[in-house]
Structure formats: C-alpha cells, structure tokens
Symmetry: C2
Subunit: 396 residues, 2 copies
Amino acid sequence: MSTKDFALFGAPPAFAESLHCGQRYFPSWQRYRESFRGIFERQYYTEYGPLNQQLEQKLQQFLGVKHAICVTNETVGMMMLAGALGLKGKVILPAFAHIGAAQSLGWAGLEPVFCDADPDTHQIDIDQVAGLIDKDVSAIMGAHLWGGACDTKALAKLAEARGVQLYFDAAHGFGCAVDGIKIGNFGRAEVLSFHQDNILNASEGGCICTNDDELAARLRTMRSSAGAGKPVEVTKTVNGRMSEAQCAIALLNLEDFAQNRQNNQDLCKIYEAQLAAIPGLQLVRHGEVSVSNHQNVVCRVDESEFGISRDRLVALLKAENVHARRCFHPVLHRSIPYAQELPQYQSRLPIADSLAVSCIQLPIGALVSKQNVERICEILKRAHLEAPEILVTAVS
Amino acid sequence: MSTKDFALFGAPPAFAESLHCGQRYFPSWQRYRESFRGIFERQYYTEYGPLNQQLEQKLQQFLGVKHAICVTNETVGMMMLAGALGLKGKVILPAFAHIGAAQSLGWAGLEPVFCDADPDTHQIDIDQVAGLIDKDVSAIMGAHLWGGACDTKALAKLAEARGVQLYFDAAHGFGCAVDGIKIGNFGRAEVLSFHQDNILNASEGGCICTNDDELAARLRTMRSSAGAGKPVEVTKTVNGRMSEAQCAIALLNLEDFAQNRQNNQDLCKIYEAQLAAIPGLQLVRHGEVSVSNHQNVVCRVDESEFGISRDRLVALLKAENVHARRCFHPVLHRSIPYAQELPQYQSRLPIADSLAVSCIQLPIGALVSKQNVERICEILKRAHLEAPEILVTAVS
C-alpha cells in the first residue's frame, strides 16, 4: 500500500461512476409512468391541480400540521414567508446555513443578522441569539441542519419573551421529529425543501408548513394558485406554484419514505462504525431530534489528527469519483454580498468559520450502496494512514 | 329562439366540457413518455441538466438571440432581471398588464410607475411614457400583449435619450417578430413565459433572453444552476432553475411550434370573420408585429352597441361552459397594494381603466376545435340579438 494506490497520484479511480451527496430517491419507472400518464390524460399540469391537492392533504396528515402549502422551491417559499409574516428590518439566522436562507431575506427587503453555531451539532448557537436581538430585529429564522434540529424550545421561549417572530428553514428536516412532534410544526411556520438532495423530493420543490389559518390563507394567495382557498388581502404575490409533475414525484416518494429513511439509517450505521476508528474525523451529533431522517453524513476533519486538510481530502476523494462536498462554503458572512456589506461579522463567528473550513459531506442515498460506503470508508482510513506521504507527494 | 335557449336561463349548456382560454399545447403521450423515460434513466432531474442545456441552445437558435436563460417561471425571471440590471427607485410599466409584472418590482425593492394603454392595440401608450420619466426612474418595462408587440423602436429611442434602461415582459410573445426580428432580442433583455396558457409551454416555466454577455453571466449565477457557466459576482441569488421535466415538455412543444401557431391562426380567422358581423365586439389589433403567434383572442365589448355588459356576457358564457376571462381585472393601479399605496394613479389612466372593464378573452388553443369556435360565435351573436330580453330576464 502506498500513495500510488490513490487515483490522485495515478491509480485508476476506486469508482467507475461518480458518487454524490444528494439523496436522489425516485420511484420506479413503472409507477412514475403511471402517475405521469394521469397528468397527461387530465391535461392538468399546474395551478393547484388534483395532485397538488392530494399532496398537501397527505403532507398535512404525515406531518400532523394544519397547513402544508406546496411551493415551486424552498427559496421562493422562504421569500414568500418573510413577506407573509410582515417582517421588517432585520432577521437573525445562523451563519452556518444555506445561502438561500440569507438570500430569501434580501428579496423581502430584510437584512440578515448572523449568529454563530454549536460546534457539535452545527445548529444555531442559542446562547448567542439573545444578545443579537435589538429594536430592528423582527424575527429569528432557525435552521434544522443535517437531519438534526436546532433547539426549538429555547428559541420559542426567547422569541416570545422578546416579542419577535420565529420561523425555520427546514430544508433538511422532512420526517424528523422533536419529542415526537414532526418538523413543520414549530414557530410561526417552517419551510421544507423537496430538492432532489433531500429525502422527500419533487425534483425541485418545497412546502411551507404552519398551524396558523390566517398565515396559511395569506401564503395561498401569495402563491397565485387559483382555486386554493378564498383569496385574502396581501400586498405581495409571486408565482410560487408547484406543478403537477413535481407533485407526482413527491407523492410517490412520500409512499417510499419509511424505506428510504431506513436505507439512510443503514448506510449511516456503516459510516458511524467505520469512522469511529479513524482519528480526526468527527461525525456531527444530531442535536434535539427524537427521530432523524439520516439524510446527511457530515463530519469535521481535524487536520492535526487526521493528517491532511479538509480541502486536500476533498480533492483526494474527487479523484476516486467520490464527490464529497465542503459544507456551506463560503459561510454566509463571507459570501457575496455580505462580506462587503456587513463587515462587522468577520471576527464574530469563530465556530461557523471553523465548521466551514473543516466539514465534509459524504455520499449517501438512493445511488449509494453499502459496498460503496465500505469502500469510501476504506479510502478515508488509508488517507489517514498515508497522510504523511500524501503531504509530500506531487499530484500526478 | 329566446332567452330560454341560454344555459344561464335554464337550457342545458352548449358544451358538455369546459372550454378555457389557455393554449395548453402538449406533445403526444408517446413522445412525452419517451422523453421522461430518458430523464428517469439518467436520474438527472434538475440543476442545468442535459435537457436544460439542449433547450437553451434550441431557443437561442430559434429566437436568434445570444442567451436564453431558462427559469422556473416568468415572475421569478422578471424579479431576477430587475436585480441583475441593478435597477433603483422606480420603473415605468403599463397599467394594463399582468399583476406579476408589477409584483416582480416589489421583490426587487422597486416602485412601479403606471402608464396608460393604446385603445386599439392595448399596448403601452408611447406618448405618455416620456412624461413619466423623472430622476427616480431607472427603467422602462415594456410588455408585449396578446401576440402583438409594443412599439420597441420608440421605447428604445426614448430610453437611450433619457438614460434609462429598457426591458420587456414578453409573456405572450413567444415566436412573434417585429420587422422579422423575434421577440427576445429587444431592450436589455426580455422575459418569456412558458406557462401552459402560452403557445410554448413547459407546464410552468420561463426564459430570460438577452444579447448582453455580462448580463447573461450575472443571470446564470443568480439562478443558482451549478455548471451553467463560470460564476460571476452578484449580490442577489435565488433558486430560479427550470427542472428537466419542465425542459422536456418545452423541447417537445418547440418541435410543434409551427403547427400550433397555424392552428391558432386558423381559429383566429374564424373568430375574425364571425365577430366582424356582431356589433359592439371589437377584436384587438396586433400592433407592430410582422409575425404573430395568434395565441390570444381578445375583444372589447362595447355595452351600448352590443347590448349587454362585459361582465354579463362572461356570466352568460360561463353557464354554457365557456370560460371567457376578464382581461387584467382589476387593472394594476386598482389592485392591492397599489390602489392604497399609490392613489395618484386612480384618475390618470382612462384607457387602461376602460380596457379592464370592457375586454374579454375567448377560448383558443389545443383543446378548442373549429366547431367549438363556430358555436361560441353563434352564442355571441345570439347574445347580441337577444340582448334586450336578456337584460330583463331573471337568472334561473
């Protein structure tokens, strides 16, 4: 065994086909065809069609939430929600989060206030939030990361005490629960993503969940979906509709949820067992959830223990056709336009900064087998063992 | 013949199935299935996939434009474009236009300035635009309505002379040309809609067209579609992606464009011939275009000549299962929130006001046969002849 066995240094790649981090669960071609034939026969492709109605009902049942409002994608949903909540001024959100969360605020005329992260769970640092609330802050946007959840109770208490609204970017959270209550039920509303990277996908898509009737009515009007309830007075609208094609895929994937979640869990167990034996790789701890969807495998690379840096590891894996991802890199407060426009955050968010340069997301999902995971873990183990040599070997 | 023959007064409806105004052209199930099978086999559903790339290339060829940037829907595209153009302050647009045009401005932090319409073509009143430009106006948003076009030359001249930007809401304009140049090539950029109501549909979807390389690069980065060219510095992003499912439908419909356009033209000819004989119904004149897509049949109902009001006619037709539409009603300056927030326009836009209360859109498209059109025209003729009796008959 030597560095010559790595594709980065000239060996053939470990995998003939690329392995990705996205979940990419899709129904069988048979069921897919069946469902699409129905759309075709009805000639009803958009505008709160029968599949959209069915999907919203099934999501409401599944999540135990009063209103599930399907939208074209999560970012548009987050933008709509910020508008429907009537937010003004500033909104607090974690700096270690998806760029879409911050960007949804700009379109709604709001300024982000970035909060640091917890080093073990990666979730928003509850202790820091209180100190960030000032007279210009109208809301806290929590985020549930990696199949875990942020501390919804502490945030709810704080939001109530300080008179600000609370809502959540729940992109990663479909099917997760906190004390038995499914994500979708917390705060004023939560927005799920049905992008193909997430466990329940509609190829693209998303869903705003709320138990507030008035808020739901405003969101349905804002979405511009004729027939979805009595229109109410709203000052902003957008085309936020989910098409019947998107709904068809989500409905079929919803039927498969339990088995897809189980598959994730099985793959996660292999990662957990194998990575525990590799110094310098620390898997994220799922904070707060009583049930996880296990949709993301994320670990921190401690360069001094592991032997090589996170970025070097990403390059090493990429050569093997393993498309591991750097998580939320660059972190929000170092992204355009925030790095220039809000320079005050550059020195205030040490944990988020550290996570963004040290975390790696590994392949899991429909297109990743147990054997694939075993082999990825072997590569990681070898990378650690060969680290000293890797550091001094020139890339071929 | 008497009012008793109208469904509104108790007769069975003229049509067993509802007739709608949307174009609703869709490919055969065979071709549709074939195309979707490909998506399914590739397991590539979103993020600038192969069909997205193909569609953009074919649109560029078809339209003779340098960049066609497909987006999730036109409203999101208009919002992105306003951001990418770096607009500030106010934007002039026609008051007789789709609500999405005005709403796209609000999300981009801009204020609309409403301009009146031409009574014959319904397009923006060129003579009024110049007087609306002040130091706060950064752009004019033209709109091409009903398969016609606004006066692109006069607007370009004015925009240049006054140092403001010019772009277009081209929702209705796919395949139309002005002096042989296809819509998509005018101003800084134009945004087409691929909603199923329009001649080229992707069920939902849209496309931003521009001949400006730098603007195109900004828009591609804003759309968040990995792989679609080198990212450039932009201050705003959103999920503006069109999925492979949407692209598949648009690609197939693009192949059928010539025959769908011909079908529209054939149906329009029947409407033209028949309506010419009915006093008080005046079809919109297609201003400026050398080629129309004939996708909309819109006429003004002159109550004094026709005998009954536009709204009464809509109710009469609806009872027959003919879902005629009131056009842009309420007109933009009377819609929420503009009626309250911008009261200065209430008395300044007489033509737009008049069009909004007198225009009607009639069924045309894939699901409307020549016989259907003949029968709709007969109903209209009878409505005129029986008008005096209709006015005094109670609805059953």
